[in-house]
Symmetry: C2
Subunit: 114 residues, 2 copies
DNA sequence: TTATTATTAACCCCTATGGGTGAATATTAA
DNA sequence: TTAATATTCACCCATAGGGGTTAATAATAA
């Protein structure tokens, strides 16, 4: 399981459209900071900050080659978050299914005049 | 698909352990604000604020009965977030699989002296 | 050596969050 | 009517996020 703290960082990091777009871009392969920044109307600095948040959440890894920093994806935290989410969804859909079943049972019962 | 903005709100709302605990509790059925607050060492007010954030993300719904407010789960946003995450995970695991395959192919090639 | 390039660091601004306290509101009970 | 309960509202505080600009650093190129 993911440590709660890890989940905090992962979900917080994913809760921003710029950062999600950066991850999308990185899913096609590693890229430098400048390349990652180019599609956005914001400053290179802002993108650099977003990257730091992604790094802190270990969603991306940095490889330095001279003055260039290459970023790439790290799959584990997303796997953990996805697993957690799927689990929660099951738990609470199950609960809702039980409620539905109960309601249906009552409907049947009342239609039988019970 | 979830609107990007919706995803922002959902993920941000989930990125807090208190709020995740509240959702866990609600997966066992609806509860009042005071009941939700009782397990936490923080003030009722703070919990009330957390609930507002969950409501804004439409992860919980509120039903007023007199002076009591009953909170219950809303499954849709979590479903959407889980779907998004599963999709991302697939996309980028696929990419990593391709890389692995390439590396393996190179290994085979080099072991054949090519 | 001197530019130029790639990136971060150090600041400023504003807003939101997570915590608190104390007062206001609404509803139920005495 | 008055008192008690359930919840929120209106503030306070501190920290972090997302944006900016202008240095500072590091490395390559001229």
């Amino acid at each position: 399981m993911a440590k709660p703290q890890t989940l905090d960082l992962t979900l917080a990091a994913l809760a921003d459209p710029t950062r999600r777009a950066i991850l999308q871009r990185l899913s096609q392969g590693e890229a430098r900071v400048t390349e990652l920044a180019s599609p956005f109307p914001i400053s290179l600095n802002s993108v650099s900050k977003h990257i730091r948040i992604l790094e802190r959440a270990r969603l991306v890894r940095r490889r330095r080659a001279g003055r260039e920093h290459f970023l790439s994806l790290e799959q584990k935290p997303l796997d953990e978050a996805a697993t957690w989410m799927a689990g929660q969804r099951n738990i609470w859909n199950a609960r809702l299914d039980v409620l539905e079943a109960l309601l249906e049972a009552e409907d049947v019962a009342s239609s039988l005049g019970t």
